[in-house]
């Protein structure tokens, strides 16, 4: 690595999902599976054994008609920075074989499929259920194998896989920049498949370390407090566990922001300073 490259600013790639825009159409899930050669089964009804790097959860406010409200929450891997944002993500710190690593130059949590030996400790550690085990050999019916992306290696039976923030796209963008003699990649050069596929424009992707990027402007990550959002309408899932995710959610609805974490009765009202005041 040259001195010039060393001087390069550290990226912290992250995602912002506007939950008020998400319609729950599932395009992000389809795009993700297609982009990343995610295997599927003939019968996908057992959701605890099917692989969905991006999974859309359906939330309700728990009220009966006519006050019922629905929110769809897309959940990729959170690419946690861990306690203090030092890179000791819940999964990275427990993997006994270093098969999952924290990229200090990108903030992306990787998964090395050929090193993973399938102990599933990382799955036990992840509170977001973002990690999936290959219970079967991956199989694509008929001619479908021809449609697989050559840039992503399919995974073998017995290993864990998860969302990589389409890392192959980052590699391609970096290669292109290098070829063109540029040091940095542009915001639009590296976008995840789910971001591009979302018809409602609910997903935004970029560098949380770059004030010019949209994700930065949307959530205003506080660099002195492990990038907690300064935008009162933004939140991260399970903030109180200090996993420090790089996926942020935005909603105008208070019940949605409250659903992002756990609160003892009456606690939300006292603690919600970071999540915006009541909008009811």
């Amino acid at each position: 690595m040259t001195k010039e490259q060393n001087k390069r600013k550290k990226h912290v790639f992250g995602m912002v999902i506007d939950l008020d825009k998400c319609t729950g159409c599932g395009s992000c899930m389809v795009a993700c599976m297609s982009e990343n050669n995610v295997p599927f089964r003939e019968d996908e009804s057992d959701k605890k054994r099917s692989i969905t790097w991006m999974r859309v959860y359906k939330l309700t406010n728990g009220k009966s008609f006519p006050d019922t409200e629905i929110c769809y929450l897309p959940r990729p891997c959170m690419h946690c920075g861990g306690h203090g944002d030092h890179g000791h993500s819940p999964c990275v710190s427990v993997c006994p074989v270093n098969a999952t690593r924290y990229g200090y130059d990108t903030g992306i949590v990787s998964q090395i499929y050929t090193r993973c030996f399938g102990c599933r400790y990382c799955m036990a550690a992840c509170p977001y259920h973002a990690r999936y085990f290959n219970w079967w050999d991956p199989k694509w019916p008929g001619e479908m194998e021809k449609y697989l992306s050559p840039n992503v290696s399919p995974r073998m039976r017995g290993v864990v896989e998860k969302c990589s923030f389409c890392y192959q796209r980052y590699q391609a963008a970096r290669d292109k920049a290098l070829y063109e003699g540029r040091d940095e990649i542009e915001e639009n050069e590296y976008q995840t498949a789910c971001t591009e596929a979302c018809p409602a424009g609910a997903i935004t992707f970029g560098d949380l370390n770059n004030p010019d990027h949209m994700v930065y402007k949307m959530v205003q990550p506080d660099p002195h407090h492990t990038r907690k959002p300064l935008n009162p309408k933004a939140f991260r899932l399970l903030e109180r566990l200090e996993t420090n995710p790089k996926v942020y959610y935005i909603s105008e609805r208070e019940w949605v922001r409250k659903a992002g974490d756990n609160y003892i009765k009456g606690e939300w009202e006292k603690l919600n300073k970071n999540h915006g005041k009541s909008d009811e």
């Binding site: 057992d46 605890k48 054994r49 959860y57 939330l59 929450l73 306690h83 000791h88 819940p90 710190s93 427990v94 993997c95 006994p96 074989v97 270093n98 098969a99 090193r115 993973c116 030996f117 399938g118 102990c119 599933r120 400790y121 799955m123 036990a124 550690a125 992840c126 509170p127 977001y128 259920h129 990690r131 999936y132 085990f133 290959n134 219970w135 079967w136 050999d137 073998m156 039976r157 017995g158 290993v159 864990v160 899932l237 399970l238 109180r240 566990l241 200090e242 996993t243 409250k258 659903a259 992002g260 974490d261 756990n262 609160y263 003892i264 606690e267």
Partner: protein, 412 residues
């Protein structure tokens, strides 16, 4: 037909009867081996585990047998380091049980991983931050120590002992056994502890996460302590079962009562620590993450508050009370009740630390995950029981496992 191999003067059943017993256990063993081969060749889709239950019956079985096998290191520590001489009459059996438990744990782990052929990666690509790495290193090393501790007993077989080399080797190994006992205790402290750390460090799982000392969560110390406390109860339980099957008294009461008393005081001190840990977790750790204790024990079909009561009261306070009170522990029925409750108690502790940790929803919109193991998981978990039965039967028949057996027979 095998009388030459049987310890001198010892009474054993006829060989056909013995072989029939082994064959019956062998059928169960083969059932387990068949399930194991299915898992290896067809993959872990043979189990009922899923992405919510990545850790399930097998990890519980591992944690449980290692805790139960803790009788080996703790009895060894008491016998060789603290010099409690009476325990020489049960240490052999404790080592045999420990050997069975640890070899079973290693076998189950080999079935449990998705890519068994890559198991060596844990040594080659070791992540020093992972509790599982510590488990793998200490477990394999301690299994080697147990093998070394087992060898002198094998060399004491009547036929083998006639070979001068083996006779002297066994004698010399006995002489340095204190070194191995100390090594075993040291390694056990770390692997028992790191097994506790496996769930204790999961800061994304508020049910099992614990604060602690430096890099070790409190569960690290609780697991080591509980293995030392409850392990001897399992040694005593298997001794009682062996006595029941053979119809003979094999260990004198004073030895049994001494080990039961030590175990009782260890359980007492452990259960006090466990109660303090539970209160701190319920009052401080969990609420700081937005959970009340009762959230972990409600709204599901299985994990009610009964499980905490059963673990701490029925599996902890009750056996501890029986074992520390002289009159009670010397009552054979109460003693048996206490050691059975203790074994259930420690197994329940390991169960909740693995399976309830997986079951509890963490995200507010998530749901409880319940699971029932497949027959392949059950068969491979019963496999070690059949294997243990066979190994104990062979060891009892051909090796002088119980030094007091002859004396007790003559007394009778």
């Amino acid at each position: 037909m095998d009388s030459e191999l049987i310890p001198k003067g010892a009474k054993r059943c006829s060989f056909p009867f013995f072989a029939t017993g082994l064959a019956i256990a062998g059928i169960v063993l083969l059932w387990g081996v068949y399930a194991m081969l299915l898992c290896w060749f067809k993959g872990l889709n043979q189990t009922n585990m899923n992405d919510n239950y990545g850790f399930a019956l097998w990890i519980w079985a591992d944690l449980a047998v290692i805790a139960l096998g803790g009788g080996a290191f703790f009895t060894g520590l008491l016998r060789y380091i603290f010099g409690i001489d009476e325990l020489k009459n049960i240490i052999n059996f404790a080592v045999v049980i420990g050997f069975i438990c640890y070899s079973s744990a290693l076998l189950i782990l080999a079935i449990d991983v998705g890519q068994p052929l890559r198991s060596w990666f844990i040594f080659w690509h070791a992540n020093v931050h992972s509790m599982l790495t510590e488990v793998a290193f200490c477990l394999s090393l301690y299994f080697s120590v147990l093998t070394i501790e087992f060898i002198p007993l094998i060399l004491e077989n009547r036929k083998i002992n006639k070979v001068p080399f083996f006779h002297h080797l066994g004698h010399n190994m006995h002489g340095i056994m204190a070194v191995f006992a100390a090594t075993g205790a040291f390694l056990s402290f770390f692997h028992q502890g790191s097994l506790g750390g496996v769930s204790g460090v999961l800061y994304g799982r508020p049910f099992s996460f614990r604060h602690g000392l430096l890099i070790w969560p409190w569960t690290f110390f609780l697991f080591t302590w509980s293995a030392a406390a409850y392990g001897p109860c399992f040694t005593l339980l298997i001794t009682k079962i062996t006595e029941g099957i053979t119809g003979k008294k094999l260990v004198k009461d004073n030895v049994v009562h001494l080990l039961a008393k030590i175990s009782g005081w260890m359980i007492t001190s452990y259960i006090i620590a466990k109660i303090i840990d539970t209160i701190y977790w319920a009052m401080v750790t969990a609420p700081s993450e937005g959970f009340t204790m009762m959230q972990f024990y409600s709204n599901n079909g299985f994990y009610g508050i009964w499980i905490l009561f059963a673990e701490i009261v029925l599996g902890g306070i009750v056996p501890a009370a029986i074992l520390i009170k002289k009159d009670w522990r010397e009552n054979s029925k109460l003693l048996l009740l206490a050691i059975i409750l203790a074994v259930i108690g420690i197994c329940l502790n390991r169960w909740v630390m693995v399976l309830q940790t997986m079951a509890v929803p963490v995200m507010s919109f998530d749901t409880w995950a319940l699971y029932f193991p497949s027959w392949q998981e059950i068969a491979t978990t019963i496999l070690p029981v059949a294997y243990g039965f066979i190994l104990i039967a062979i060891a009892y028949r051909y090796l002088p496992v119980f030094p007091q057996e002859q004396e007790l027979y003559i007394e009778k």
